[in-house]
Symmetry: C2
Subunit: 463 residues, 2 copies
């Protein structure tokens, strides 16, 4: 008999009531007397477990089953019985129980609660815990919601390169990718001779796919990337990882306002999708990880995001009845404390801050009429701070060249990026969403290490 996923039993209960079915799964708990026993069986298809009742009178191997340790895998044939008066909505009355795989009794995930720090050390087992079962199922749903949102809106998904030979990204410290003999690299003129390396030049792991995404926007109009990006920064914070995933939409014929509209629609779409498709997980997060999470997310879906300029934000911060660690004046880069004050205390909802001073932003952002600010837009959200950074891109070849010159960037390193402006280089905009920040936002988890399946951080690359 084909076995049935436990999710299916929870979602379409009436179809299976009083019917004989077969399920497979792993034991989460196993308790009972010498006459009958209860197993919480989880098959990974669903956050909740199925209660299995087995009786000494009914099955031959009652002794064996009652001793089966946590994490053992069972195949159970039985009848699904509705139990409207009990805590769980139904249970499976076993007629036959078979152990498909045993488990050692030193299984580390016993019923007691474990710290998140401890669970990180057993990343090969933590997806079986309630918290991580919920986190990684939601992670999968958020990833799919993002694809769904963009595909349904006609965006083309582009895989920008992971290994880059371009010096042009400049968004942070990079990891070098090489096959040269590490102890004896070939040298020329006192320098490592990268012409002998695998790609014939020095290569690194990408920090952003934006510049290549712009290539595709000039061909397909609306495109997005979704891939891993890397930062070789030695920062051990709860919000930074060395390897993380980013989504970078890029839209031709689109100005800053259009950019913000897409970002706002995307954020709301993701939240709605997760609340509809993972209500059990969201309830769990709301109860055990971050009380108030569901209210906060509902509020975000229903409210219009605020839009203020950087200059207005600085005014608000200066007027604030609050001491900041970093003093505020026009021209500074906003710190997390400033961002959170604006989004959490002033507006209590997501806020786009636009038109930042050009000197604190990247060369490719479009210079505003005032000559001092650029058409950037960062989205700040309560509980996180910045979750999206975006801008309208500088499409005017002469202005772009002047800015590159100002910043000491060499034209020859950007030859193809400049050519995009020569041949039908229309106005265009885009933004980057840090995927893990979005997962933290949606789940309430406060450490990026707990939303990455196998986090990479300074001195850590286990599993």
């Amino acid at each position: 008999m084909q076995d049935i996923r436990i999710k299916e039993l929870f979602r379409n209960t009436n179809e299976y009531a009083d019917k004989e079915i077969t399920v497979r799964g792993w034991i989460r708990t196993n308790r009972g007397s010498n006459k009958f026993g209860f197993v919480e069986l989880n098959d990974g298809s669903f956050f909740k477990s199925l209660q299995v009742v087995y009786e000494a009178d009914k099955i031959d191997n009652f002794q064996e089953i009652s001793k089966a340790p946590i994490a053992s895998a069972l195949k159970v044939r039985g009848t699904l019985v509705l139990t409207p008066e009990a805590k769980q909505p139904f249970e499976l009355k076993a007629e036959e129980v078979e152990i498909e795989a045993g488990s050692d009794s030193d299984y580390p995930l016993q019923k007691k609660r474990h710290s998140l720090e401890y669970l990180r050390e057993i990343a090969h087992l933590r997806p079986r815990s309630n918290t991580f079962s919920a986190v990684f199922r939601v992670r999968s749903l958020v990833a799919y919601a993002i694809h769904k949102f963009f595909q349904e809106n006609g965006f083309v998904y582009v895989h920008t390169p992971i290994i880059t030979g371009s010096d042009a990204e400049g968004a942070g410290e990079m990891f070098r990718v090489t096959t040269l003999d590490p102890a004896n690299p070939p040298m020329a003129d006192g320098q490592v001779d990268y012409s002998q390396d695998f790609f014939g030049k020095e290569t690194n792991l990408t920090v952003s796919g934006q510049l290549e995404a712009e290539i595709f926007a000039m061909a397909f109009r609306d495109v997005y990337t979704f891939g891993p990006t890397f930062r070789a920064e030695n920062s051990n914070t709860a919000r930074h990882a060395s390897e993380f995933w980013m989504i970078e939409p890029e839209m031709a014929f689109c100005d800053l306002e259009g950019n913000m509209q897409t970002a706002e629609a995307m954020i709301k779409y993701i939240i709605r999708y997760v609340m509809e498709n993972a209500p059990e997980e969201m309830e769990f997060f709301n109860n055990f990880i971050d009380k108030g999470l569901i209210d906060r997310l509902t509020n975000i879906v229903e409210s219009d995001f605020v839009r203020i300029t950087y200059t207005e934000a600085v005014e608000l911060l200066k007027k604030a009845d609050k001491e900041f660690d970093y003093p505020v004046e026009w021209g500074i880069d906003l710190q997390t404390e400033h961002e959170r004050y604006i989004t959490e205390e002033v507006f209590k909802k997501p806020v786009f801050v636009t038109d930042y001073p050009k000197d604190i932003k990247a060369f490719y952002m479009r210079l505003n009429e005032d000559g001092k600010t650029v058409a950037a837009c960062d989205l700040l959200v309560p509980g996180i701070g910045e979750i999206i950074g975006g801008s309208q891109r500088e499409e005017r070849l002469d202005v772009l060249k002047a800015r590159m010159d100002e910043m000491g960037l060499e034209e020859k390193d950007y030859w193809w990026y400049l050519e995009l402006r020569k041949y039908g280089g229309v106005k265009h905009s885009g933004y980057g969403l840090g995927f893990e920040r979005m997962i933290m936002y949606v789940t309430g988890m406060s450490n990026i290490r707990d939303v990455l399946p196998f986090p990479r951080t300074p001195k850590t690359a286990e599993f």
Copy 2:
């Protein structure tokens, strides 16, 4: 007025007939007389272009528009007129035309045909050509079809790590990832001291996410990866790239037959999805890239895939009325010529070859009863050869340890992989699909460099 995507005009023509609309896009061709002109306008939303007719009597800037070079971007307001008697189904009669961005006349993509080799050198412009517009739109659709297939079947998407500190993958030559000073690496005992490297140990780019996917299958039952993988192999063939994307589903409680059923259903789902959602692109490939493509794909969707054992395959090859470059005997690894003979000449459809000799397969594949073969399954398809490699995994701890010992692998390097077998390590299976091979298969493109947006191959990492 909100502009309308050209795809929308082609898909819902009747809604726009005789209405005034605004479109934006890039000029593909521009020709005419001194009274009127025709522009093929492409906005990237659709494979086909919109014919725009502009007349000297109607628009003020007729001279300017008639001189606008290819690749210039226009905004056009006009009325959509059905033209059932003409080659194109409708045209836009312009009332107002505005140049949004000009283009230099040295634009390399003029109307004449260019070689695929030349187009690779201008990877920043080739997505605007017919061929690559079709290839990369189909690439995006195939990616989405894969997510859709797995998500609709309850699989959890897992991001396995890109940077790996594990020596356990062993599927090929790896790229080293490092931040050490390349000219003066720290040394200890005559060796590079990786304890001083960013992650405190030697790290490489992943060649497969399978082992980590197994972790997730033991928690979520049905999971899949979809991410970049890397091979530092110096092989300059039309089928190999140094950076490519892979899909690796992994299913608990699943044997080899279940594995093949999923693979077959997935392949058919992808093909159906692309044929339904990109009929214009598929017609283009069928006419200009690979005649017979649509028939071949239709045949695959409608036929049952063959299943034969390796031993049967060897018999077929020995009986073949054909000289092979590599002689056939039981125990050899099948070469592409053998694979293509079986799938193209013997069966003329996709063939799963199962139960390979253990000595030519990986340590994690489940040993069969005969002690000589393992429960592997490779899928061979006409025109490509191997497109999927999979297996049931060895879930028996003692058998796994014995095989590792036989192959000289150290248990300590696989501690967590072995622990999966200690705690509810049920039977499970999975496979890997090379994403680019699938794109080649669906489009008929014969070089992997032409299905990757920015290919990385030995000595090449441009853009």
